[in-house]
């Protein structure tokens, strides 16, 4: 039994694009970038909340070796149900990786970006990584190439990277202080020795900073990833943000620590908790004063394929791509046509979003209240258009009298979809509700009776009255209703420190 919502049709929103708040006026992480950089990243799903509804990315797992150990990583772990960095199911040779990339490019024309992100460190496997890049820049010149690294071997590889048409490098920088680093990195392999403790962290930090400076000097875009570890580097990341911005990184992506005892990582086993949604948001806000923050990272596997948040890797296993014959010249033409059509669609969405501009006007006359968080179920198109029960993630917006702004997304399954085999028994619905902690309303196209009741009990007001409306407009309308009903006069609900 479901509550029907008038106007709900089969959504034909041709691929999506999020609201102006998510990517346009006030929420666009890329809006303040110089034109030249914006041009480079506008079709990159990992760098733009708006682009990720249209374009896909893939990672190839060619780089298994690592030259450091991080306390949030366990090299023994591979679970098919897991979606997080460092996890892969199938290691590829460079030749196999190239074949896989071309097979995916011909099948999923929206795929514009190929990244090498492990499962070890790509630059600790320079021959395998560079051979993959070399072949791809020659055979598939329409694909953007990126690489992600811990930075230890970066300075010696910058020259080689610049030769392979790499225009984006991600460096994971968790600290700029060796005393903090000693709590995150137990050892590094450096100059033919295993080095431990503060000394190891100091070398790693120096290499990371040097590599960052060298890339910027070469004109290669650098994004910095940081893992937020409460009580270890959370306060310190504000300093990291300042330092890397000053050195020319164009984007900072603060991600939550993923730590579960079952992963067998140091942090997992020792009971180090990850940040709550609220803590992560507060830190991202604090760093945002200094630089462009990224808020929609999905923390993908090192062999993920498809749009962010989805993984079509199972369609492209080695035995499946073996038999595929690919005419890449034809594929490239088809891809160019698809990309051109996407751009027409995006432009139309942008124009529509610009015309709306309702929200701020709608806030006039509303009295001052505390801000409120709302969750939105959407499958793209910048509108509220998804059934609550179908949503695998929610976009989170903060509404106040000044503004309606996109805060980030929350995945329902967080990073594990294996319900029965791992973890304590908790229903999918309970999990979803816990994911929405801190939100006081959830906007969706429809919702069943059972979740409706449980959400209300949890202090989250379900709302299916704004189906197919632009997200910002809907959030603003709900905010107004909440103010008028006096719901924001009481303090915000207490958020527990328990974490998914």
């Amino acid at each position: 039994m479901e509550l029907k919502v008038p106007g709900q049709t089969t959504q034909a929103s041709s691929g999506g694009g999020c609201s102006s708040g998510g990517c346009g006026s006030n929420g666009d992480q890329l809006a303040h970038l110089p034109e030249a950089i914006r041009d480079k990243v506008k079709n990159h799903p990992c760098y733009s909340e708006e682009a990720h509804h249209y374009y896909a990315r893939m990672h190839v797992a060619v780089a298994p070796a690592c030259n450091i150990q991080c306390h949030y990583c366990n090299r023994k772990y591979d679970c098919a149900n897991e979606s997080r960095p460092g996890v892969v199911s199938e290691l590829l040779t460079p030749d196999q990786a190239v074949k896989k990339v071309m097979a995916v490019a011909a099948t999923i024309p929206q795929m514009t970006v190929l990244g090498i992100a492990g499962p070890g460190d790509p630059l600790a496997n320079p021959e395998r990584t560079m051979e993959t890049f070399r072949q791809l820049s020659e055979k598939a010149p329409d694909i953007k190439l990126c690489v992600s690294t811990n930075g230890l071997a970066l300075p010696e590889q910058v020259e080689e990277l610049s030769r392979h048409n790499i225009d984006h490098v991600t460096i994971t920088i968790n600290c700029v202080d060796p005393d903090v680093g000693a709590k995150i990195y137990p050892w590094i392999f450096w100059n033919n020795r295993r080095i431990k403790g503060r000394k190891a962290a100091k070398i790693l930090i120096e290499q990371q900073q040097k590599g960052l400076e060298m890339l910027v000097a070469k004109g290669i875009l650098v994004k910095v990833n940081s893992v937020m570890i409460p009580g270890v580097n959370d306060e310190h990341l504000k300093e990291v943000s300042r330092v890397v911005k000053a050195k020319g990184a164009f984007l900072h992506n603060v991600m939550p620590l993923i730590a579960e005892a079952g992963h067998g990582t140091f942090f997992g086993v020792m009971g180090q908790r990850g940040p709550t949604h609220g803590e992560l948001q507060a830190l991202q806000d604090a760093c945002a004063g200094d630089m462009n923050m990224m808020r929609h990272c999905r923390q993908c596997r090192a062999d993920a394929v498809g749009l962010l948040g989805e993984d079509r890797g199972a369609e492209f296993t080695l035995d499946k791509i073996e038999g595929m014959e690919i005419d890449y010249a034809a594929a490239m033409q088809m891809r160019a046509d698809v990309h051109a059509a996407i751009e027409v669609d995006r432009e139309a969405q942008r124009r529509q979003a610009a015309e709306i501009q309702v929200p701020l006007a709608m806030l006039q006359g509303v009295r001052e209240t505390r801000p409120v968080l709302m969750a939105v179920a959407t499958s793209g198109g910048g509108v509220v258009n998804q059934h609550f029960g179908h949503a695998r993630e929610f976009l989170i917006y903060e509404a106040s009298r000044q503004d309606v702004r996109f805060i980030g997304h929350r995945k329902v399954d967080v990073y594990c979809s294996g319900n029965d085999t791992c973890g304590a028994a908790e229903t999918a619905l309970q999990k979803t509700i816990r994911t929405l902690e801190g939100c006081e309303a959830v906007l969706c196209s429809r919702i069943g009776y059972e979740p409706w009741g449980l959400l209300e009990e949890a202090g989250i007001q379900p709302n299916g009255e704004h189906a197919l409306e632009p997200i910002e407009q809907a959030v603003t309308a709900v905010y107004r209703e909440m103010v008028e009903a006096g719901r924001l006069d009481s303090p915000a609900p207490r958020v527990s420190r328990a974490r998914a």
């Binding site: 298994p64 070796a65 690592c66 030259n67 150990q69 306390h71 366990n74 090299r75 023994k76 290691l91 070890g120 600790a124 496997n125 021959e127 137990p186 050892w187 392999f189 033919n192 020795r193 295993r194 005892a261 079952g262 067998g264 990582t265 140091f266 997992g268 086993v269 020792m270 973890g423 304590a424």
Partner: protein, 92 residues
């Protein structure tokens, strides 16, 4: 004397290019060391290279058959703590 690799090896390949004697074989189900070629890096490096980059505790034995990286030495996780955590997960 020679080092050897056990089945807990995860085939990450980190050791193979480092070996000065080309004694490491990319075998399946896991990598192996050719005992006839292994020099324990004597005359090349201060530390045996494979054991200095291997991320898996206990996966490499030294010439005397003892783990080059005993439990807890690389991750910093006290072995009893790890055992307790794994036992708790098994019990679920």
């Amino acid at each position: 004397m020679a080092y050897s690799i056990l089945e807990s090896c995860v085939n990450c390949r980190a050791c193979e290019p480092l070996c000065p004697s080309k004694a490491i074989l990319a075998a399946l189900p896991h990598f192996l060391i050719d005992a006839g070629k292994c020099t324990e890096c004597e005359g090349f490096y201060a530390d045996p290279q494979c054991a200095s980059i291997c991320p898996v505790e206990g996966a490499i034995l030294d010439g005397s058959g003892a783990p080059a990286n005993p439990p807890g030495s690389l991750t910093g996780i006290p072995p009893d703590r790890l055992q307790a955590a794994m036992a708790e997960i098994q019990a679920r």
